[in-house]
């Protein structure tokens, strides 16, 4: 504030010592109080930002997906052994296609005598259902059978995760050139490197990445020479002993450059094996691995494999459910509000209805789930997991919200408008439908949309009426089994594999986009029709 | 009647009526003193009376200003309005009474002291009656008493009779002694003035009647009095 001396000069009797002392204290309290408010808002905003960042961070990887661009020879013996050329039969023959893919992969990457574990490692880079699109494509154009076609085959989610930088912390180190090498691919190789410094650097990196606190397992290094990959077993001075992993089966020539990929975790502690990493790196070096927009997220239905799971069925399920909800809650809610606000006689019954509606709005949503389970499913015998029941439950759930919002909108219309209409000889109903309702419409619609948004995000009651069921098909109608987005999110979030996490986050973002859209509409409505009386 | 919620309003009204009563008292004393000056040929007194008119005039200006102020700022209604408008009339009437007294006193200065004693006596008697009438009129204003006001109205007839007889008497003296024509004319004017004072006292009573009842006193009779001086034509 002002200094007393300065104040004394021109403020006359307004500033006395005593008053100034009090004032200083009072202004201090003022500043503190204001600070609390700013802090509170700051915390709230930080929480929101953290939430969004953590989810977007998680989700970002799920929106792209790595595929292997693979020239596949469609062999009839695999895909259509009976030569029926029947599209359905071909499409259903997933195992045939799978076998074909595996055999061709094996041809390319494995030696004849590769043992079953290595085979499994190779096949494990793709999920069984990854061939589904190939089967469908082939079934659609059977003439391609017998020819070579290029397909994008989805890599398994762990590989995908590795490619996106997940699975294990890692570092690439250039180790210099080979001075001398001995040994064989089968028994192990010992290389002597040209520069001790480079080896020391490799060793330092290994130590650096080894985490002592958690697993107490040392970091490992995969070595690449040309296109061949080895695993570093031991290192002594300038010499390294390696075992072969993948790639051309030959010793690195002298003077060949060696690179190391140091991984923090050994393969026992991660979901991707050393060999799979080697293959992946080879394929990547060949430019055959591409990152593509993960359309499966939108086009596919649920799946037990994260890389194949999509939200399509849930989106359609949500839409169907919302349709039912809207058809129940909006008209009934508006009419009920009109009745209560405009027509209901003011008596005990009406006030009971009022209290009841207000209370209903605050009843936990899960109780509505119990209601749905008891009444619609147990008592009325409607099927589980269908949008009709879900919609009815959510309809009842948001009904009070719509009623309250509509009533608020109706109350906001000044009574003078009603009396004005009555004054020129309009009936009560005319005054309501000609004047009050049109004026309240924007508010009512805003309330309805906000109610629908709430229904769209609602999860708990739907769990209880079985909408958590696994649904692989896009539902056709309100009586088809289906799930909805939030339930899908819940289900995915409980998935055991780490790949479900980004997937869940991605589904959340899909849901949030819908919600944001609805709220935007509500805001626009409100802005557009905002009215002052 | 209860006081106004805004006591300043009541105060102002009361102040106004006190002022009027003061004016009235002054006028009353002027009547008596003027007639005494005539009777005793006391020129000093006459000059005093003349001087006193000035205060009545000042009081009237003040009262009138108060009345305008009341109407402009207080918006009196109903009884208050009538009281204010009545006060306006009263002030005018009393002021006129003052003027008339002054006139009598002035005429007294023109007399030579050896007028017809009978006529002078008549003037004195008449002035007593008029003074009494004025006193009663002011009294009924003070008490807002319409019965008394009616009495005042009736008293006016006597005064008119007084005047008529005095007029005739004086005319006779004049014819008898033409030298006295000048002073007798003054006496006649004095009587006439007294008669006018009586009329004004009557007007005061009527104003009181209006203030209290909101109605004018009934037409014809009042009016004939308003016009004032038929008496002498009889």
């Amino acid at each position: 504030m002002n200094s007393p001396s300065e104040g004394a000069a021109n403020t006359g009797s307004f500033v006395t010592e005593e008053a100034l002392r009090r004032l200083k204290k009072r202004h201090g309290a003022e500043a503190r109080f204001k600070l609390y408010g700013q802090l509170a808002i700051g915390i709230a905003i930080v929480a929101l930002v953290t939430l969004l960042i953590s989810i977007f961070g998680q989700a970002s990887s799920a929106f792209s997906r790595h595929v292997l661009s693979y020239d596949l020879n469609i062999e009839a013996s695999y895909v259509d052994p009976e030569r029926t050329r029947d599209p359905d039969t071909i499409a259903r023959n997933v195992s045939g296609f799978n076998l074909m893919l595996q055999d061709q992969l094996a041809d390319e990457f494995l030696s004849e005598d590769a043992d079953r574990n290595i085979q499994r490692e190779l096949y494990g880079m793709f999920t069984r259902l990854a061939v589904l699109p190939i089967a469908r494509a082939t079934a659609d154009s059977p003439q391609t059978i017998g020819s070579e076609q290029t397909f994008n085959v989805a890599l398994a989610d762990d590989i995908d995760l590795f490619l996106k930088g997940g699975v294990s912390a890692r570092k690439s180190v250039a180790v210099g050139v080979v001075a001398a090498g001995e040994g064989s691919v089968e028994d192990g190789i010992t290389l002597t490197l040209a520069s001790l410094d480079a080896v020391e650097k490799l060793r330092a990196t290994l130590t650096e990445l080894t985490r002592t606190d958690v697993d107490n397992a040392p970091a490992v290094a995969l070595m690449k020479a040309g296109n061949t990959w080895y695993r570093l077993e031991e290192s002594e001075g300038r010499s390294l002993s390696l075992t072969y992993l993948a790639g051309p089966r030959m010793l690195p020539s002298n003077g060949a450059a060696i690179e190391a990929l140091v991984l923090a975790q050994s393969q026992e502690n991660r979901t991707v094996t050393d060999r799979q990493i080697a293959w992946t790196e080879i394929l990547r070096a060949q430019g055959r691995i591409k990152s593509k927009l993960n359309t499966t997220l939108f086009t596919n239905s649920d799946s037990t494999y994260p890389e194949l799971a999509g939200t399509a069925a849930a989106i359609v399920g949500s839409l169907l459910t919302m349709l039912v909800t809207a058809m129940l809650a909006i008209p009934v809610g508006i009419f009920a509000a009109v009745y209560l606000e405009e027509f209901a006689p003011k008596n005990k019954l009406t006030s009971l209805i009022e209290v009841n509606i207000n209370n209903l709005a605050a009843v936990p949503s899960i109780v509505f789930g119990l209601l749905g389970a008891a009444v619609f499913i147990n008592f009325m015998g409607l099927p589980r997991s269908v949008p009709l029941v879900g919609g009815l439950v959510l309809g009842l759930l948001v009904l009070p919200t719509v009623i309250i919002a509509s009533r608020a909108a109706l109350t906001a219309v000044p009574p003078s408008i009603r009396t004005a209409a009555l004054g020129v000889g309009a009936s009560k109903t005319q005054s309501v439908f000609h004047h009050v309702l049109p004026l309240a419409a924007p508010g009512i619609m805003t309330g309805a949309i906000i109610g629908m948004a709430r229904a769209l995000g609602e999860t708990a009651p739907l769990l209880l009426i079985g909408m958590v069921a696994f649904v692989a098909e896009v539902p056709d109608g309100p009586m088809d089994e289906s799930t909805v987005l939030p339930v899908l999110i819940y289900k995915w979030s409980t998935g055991a594999e780490r790949a479900w996490e980004p997937q869940t986050a991605a589904a959340i973002i899909v849901l949030l986009v819908f919600l944001v859209l609805m709220n935007l509409i509500a805001i626009i409505l409100r802005r557009r029709f905002e009215r002052r009386w | 009647m209860p006081d106004h919620i805004v006591t300043a309003f009541t105060d102002e009204l009361e102040h106004l009526s006190a002022n009027l009563l003061r004016m009235g008292g002054l006028a009353e004393s002027m009547i008596m003193d003027a007639s005494r000056a005539v009777a005793t040929f006391d020129l000093e007194l006459a000059r005093d009376v003349i001087k006193r008119d000035r205060s009545i005039d000042e009081l009237e200006v003040e009262a009138e200003r108060a009345i305008i102020r009341l109407i402009a700022l207080r918006h009196p209604m109903a009884g208050d309005l009538r009281a204010v408008l009545g006060a306006m009339k009263l002030a005018g009437d009393i002021e006129r009474i003052g003027d008339l007294c002054k006139n009598i006193a002035k005429r007294c200065l023109e007399l030579n002291g050896d007028e017809n004693r009978a006529a002078v006596k008549g003037i004195e008697r008449m002035s007593r009656a008029v003074s009494h009438q004025l006193q009663m009129a002011l009294d009924c204003y003070l008490r807002q008493d319409i019965e008394a006001a009616k009495t005042v109205l009736d008293m006016d007839d006597d005064i008119d009779d007084h005047y008529t007889s005095l007029f005739r008497e004086t005319l006779t003296y004049m014819m008898e002694d033409p030298r006295q024509i000048g002073s007798n004319t003054h006496l006649i004017f004095m009587a006439k003035n007294l008669e006018r004072i009586g009329d004004h006292a009557t007007n005061i009573a009527k104003a009181v009647y209006y203030m209290v009842t909101g109605e004018a006193t009934t037409g014809a009779k009042v009016e004939s009095r308003l016009s004032g001086d038929e008496g002498e034509q009889r």
Binding site: R26, A29, R32, F33, Y36, G37, L39, A40, I41, A44, I45, L48, L51, S54, I55, Q58, P331, V332, G333, F335, A336, Y339, L340, F343, V355, N356, N359, L360, A362, V363, P364, S365, I366, V367, G369, L370, L371, A374, V375, N378, R384, L399, S427, T429, A453, G457, T459, A460, L463, L464, V468, P486, I489, Y490, S493, E501, T504, I508, L512, L515 | -
Partner: protein
Amino acid sequence: MLETFGHLPVAWLLFAVLAAAAFMAFYVGRTQAVGIARGYTSQLNSQPNYHGYFVAMATIAPAAIILFLYILFGESLVRAQIAGELPERIRALGDLELAQYIDRISEHATRRDALATGNALFDAASDRYTDLVGLSRIAAILLAVLAAAGGFFFGRSRLSGDFRARARVEDGIKFLLFLCAAIAVLTTIGIVASLLFEALRFFSRVNVFSFLFGTEWNAQTGADFGAIPLFFGTFLIAFLAMLVAAPIGLFSAIYLSEYASPRVRSIVKPILELLAGIPTVVYGFFALQFVAPIVRASATWINGLPFIPDGFLAAQPTSALAAGLVMGIMIIPFVSSLSDDVINAVPQTLRDGAYAMGATKSETVKQVVMPAALPGVIAALLLAVSRAIGETMIVVMAAGQRAQITPDPTADLTTITVQIVALLTGDTEFDSAKTLSAFALGFVLFIVTLIFNLIALRVVKKYREKYE
């Protein structure tokens, strides 16, 4: 033909027919009224349109009632008929199995691509079912049409110059509106009835007191139904949530309504509302993925501090604290927007009054605005508590499953809602104590939140009345 009727989407067709009938009836009624008025429509008691509406109403209302009844009872009639026609041996199966048998028939019959199963009796019954459904539909439609025609002529016959068509139409509208309002009440009745009914069934098997005061909960195994640990978990988490939400929400509201410039307000308010718009399942995911690990790490760190006994904090991967914190964040906007409302409802004149006395802003807020808004704020907090108690997804995902009583917020706790979800998710039979216990829990939850809500709503109402 019966078969086609059995499959056609008759509902839509009927809808169209009824709508057409309504339009026609409206037109006829209106024309007739204009005829009666001979051009002087202002002489009519009601305007011609209302006569039209009246006839339309008279036409559809009876048809709609009949169709509604058919929707309600049509299927049971058909089923009763089928049941009567089935051979004796099947009828002898007993009610439950008979019902299931007919379920299968109806399911088969209504499948569009149904093929013969080979079971002659079943196929015949299935065909018969289709026929009966078709027949009943024809009958219902005929009845509806008849009723509509009757209504139409009745409506026309009522029209006259003095006829108060408007009043009648408005009565109809009011009745419709009333029905809608009644649905809200029916919902509550439905909730109470279903919860009470199932809960009573549960209490017929499990002692009420051992449920309410028991401290062991092993519902999945159907062994113990002592709900105290659940209550404890519920309230502990709600308490933690309020610890976060109450001060932050309240201070935000005060800052926004009293201090913030309109610009800041227009930015911050929607941001806070955004918090309210995020589905709880998202919060659950956030709690599980982000907050729970931090809580756990912090607990581990604290455990590692000197002078802290080993295992002082449970440091579980899911914890009451994680759920409570996130729930608190979720509830902030409830507290802030409700408080904001009540604070704004305090008339500006009161603030002006205080400012004019020479009070500073914070003095005004603390001594004038808040005391005036206090009942409303308390109500807001109560509603928030009720919300916290009933919140499901966050606790389901982040609080854990273990029914235990421990003051350690880093331990995993379970709540009423978590247990309800756990007990009722997936296919469940409605006859086991395990399932029924969920309803008993639901009943308790309902009652508790009801009490909070009722108190809060009452306070709010009183408060509103004061300033309106």
